[in-house]
Amino acid sequence: MRSDTQRNRRELVKAAGQLFASRRGPISMSDIAKHAEISSATAYRHFASVEDILAEYRFGVGEKLREFSLKQESSGLELLEVVSRKWVDLVIRHGGAMLHTRSGEGYLARLRQGAFYLTVQADALERPLRETCDELGLMPLGDEAMFLWNILFDPREILDLIQTVGLSKEQTTARLVSALTGAMTGWNADRSRSPES
């Protein structure tokens, strides 16, 4: 891509992040284009929809999580807790842009189809979850552990705990990690009892 084209794309993603962080309610492609000081026609040459821009924005946030995760020296449950806390930080920092109007499709269905912003997040959690299974004496749960992490650490639920229940970031992380390890243990016990074909 030529550099001004790349610049326009970056500006659009940045503008979308700023707009969604600062206000609720519908935000259109032309709102984002205007905020980025780019024409709507140019914006549509880069992205087919507002959802596409947000997906790229979330991919960028997921990359930050992956880079953070890869350079950690801790392991197992401790690593899981550190990476999860980083995620809670990122969700709070990026706020509104992280709240998707969700797709009707389930997480595993989307992950297995290779939704690009989910795969980078799954990369960030791969070692923490694998080593946690090991540390807790569970069978390797693979993307089923990722499924459980994802439903508990959904940005919407994180912001709900902070804004509605009034938990701090640290309490939110601690309780969600503890709920997650409980959930993984319960899942594992049931799966051992009735293994799926």
Binding site: G96, L99, E105, F147, L180, G182, A183, G186, W187
Partner: protein, 204 residues
């Protein structure tokens, strides 16, 4: 979403009530079959003019909310009729919920609002309130039986995270569980998550 207590249809005239019921059923049928529909399509399916449909519901989402309210009420009636208690009761109610979700299909999957579950519940989203009512006694008794310290609100929050219709369909379609297996798996996972949540609460 309007905040309303009780049955939103109470006090309406009979033919008005009938039209409303037809619209709710039509929205449920179309979405259950897996295809999103416009208000005009829902009205057409119900055999009612679009103008009349808009006198009942300002959007298709509102008609679907009324449909989910009816499903929630079925769950509530089921709970009320049970003589079991504690984790046993919770298991029965969860199995019934999974059964209802499977029966009503895609109409149960919300393209969710950006607001969190608890925030919406507090705002009085009426179809969530009836569902929460259905779970109140099962969750309270299960928490007591498991010696878990968590507020009713926290238990409801976690239940909702695990028993979201979208996740139930994901387990059935992606992992290949039967509805009964999905229900048993989620119950075990949820109760263990609740115990984990509560253990950490004692520390912090």
């Amino acid at each position: 979403m309007p905040a309303r207590g009780g049955d939103p249809a109470s006090g309406l005239r009979t033919d008005t009530q009938r039209n409303r019921m037809l619209l709710v059923a039509a929205a449920g049928r179309l979405f259950s079959a897996g295809s999103p529909a416009t208000m005009a399509e829902v009205a057409g399916e119900a055999g009612i003019s679009t103008a009349t449909a808009y006198r009942h519901f300002s959007s298709v989402n509102e008609a679907l909310a009324a449909y989910r309210f009816e499903v929630g009420r079925e769950l509530f009636e089921f709970t009320t009729a049970q003589e079991a208690s504690g984790v046993d009761l919770l298991g029965r109610v969860c199995a019934q919920w999974v059964h209802l979700v499977v029966r009503h299909g895609a109409s149960m999957i919300h393209t969710r609002s950006a607001e969190g579950y608890l925030a919406r519940l507090r705002d009085g989203a009426y179809y969530l309130t009836v569902q929460a009512e259905a779970l109140r006694r099962p969750l309270a008794e299960a928490a007591q039986e498991l010696e878990v310290r968590a507020t009713g609100q926290e238990a409801m929050f976690l239940w909702n995270v695990f028993f979201d219709p979208r996740e139930i369909f994901d387990l059935i379609n992606s992992v290949g569980l039967t509805p009964d297996q999905a229900s048993a798996r989620l119950l075990r996972t949820f109760t263990a998550a609740l115990q984990g949540w509560s253990a950490r609460q004692d520390l912090s």
